[in-house]
Symmetry: C2
Subunit: 184 residues, 2 copies
């Protein structure tokens, strides 16, 4: 945050008091479907994924969250409603958690936090709109290139079957796209 | 807005000065793909749709906006980037337009406007996440029922082929779902 707006020592102390650290081992869940995901998480180290399971038991990954990403389930964070998603650590991860109360405190007390959060929300809306559009009009190859742009830091780390699930394609189609992309 | 937070006469005067009215006839565009959609629009009367066209020339509707909805292209409004969408009036419509400058003025001057806007953004993120999830896991019938919940005021007004495009199904599948739904 210090990169985006200036923080006094008092601001930093307040932040330390509202964020709580949380460690997850690979395969552990931050939240399961049906739980109220009250905390927003900042990923300090590691790598999470959010996914839903359909009636046939198939997983659908809606988001990856590597270092420096935020994970928030708005239904739980803002509306106290149960989550439709599983949030799981793909690698051992270190998180910083904040709840709605702490969040409101930061908006009230720290100049710059509110506008920065709002900017993040607007970027989030743009990204989601892009994902909706791409699920409708883009080819699998275009979606794969989007993934490379959005998540450059995890390309080498994400398991193939998870990437295929995120892109909505079969692992076979993915490996075909990858070999084509590497040739050019 | 008066329903959500109290407005002084000065607030109302400021609003009148930053919103500009705009009339669209049925079939007219507010913005075309490639244009910078600088204005957010409040739909006072009528009914808009936002859609993209894929490389084969097929339309994909991402949003309907009947009375009391807002239409905003975040790429244009916040980032000055060209839109990927067409925003078109399906019926004769009366809009109120506001640009980023006016928006910032309202946030600065009118207490309650900023938090209300932020709440709207968060709801928007939830709605878009639901749409992404449903495009992955829901049946066509579940998506149709979602549409009924989200847009009760336009069910009778929306042309069938547009509804099918929004749901990502063929008009034939839609008419089968509709007859099943009406029987129960």
């Amino acid at each position: 945050m210090e990169k985006r707006f200036s923080l006094t020592q008092k601001d930093v102390d307040l932040m330390r008091s509202v964020f709580q650290p949380r460690q997850l081992e690979k395969g552990e869940f931050l939240f399961r479907e049906g739980e109220i995901a009250r905390y927003e998480a900042f990923v300090a180290r590691g790598f999470l994924r959010r996914y839903a399971i359909d009636k046939k038991g198939k997983e659908h990954i809606v988001q990856f969250a590597p270092e420096n990403w935020w994970v928030r389930d708005n239904k739980g964070f803002s509306d106290n409603e149960p989550s439709e998603f599983f949030t799981e650590a793909i690698e051992d991860s270190q998180l910083l958690l904040i709840d709605q109360h702490g969040h409101n405190l930061l908006i009230e007390k720290i100049q710059g936090y509110g506008p920065s959060f709002q900017l993040g929300l607007q970027k989030n809306v743009v990204a989601k709109e892009k994902r909706i559009l791409h699920s409708l009009v883009a080819t699998a190859e275009e979606r794969y290139n989007d993934f490379l742009e959005t998540y450059p830091s995890i390309v080498q780390r994400v398991p193939q079957h998870m990437l295929a699930s995120y892109l909505g394609i079969s692992p076979e189609t993915l490996s075909r796209i990858r070999s084509r992309t590497q040739i050019r």
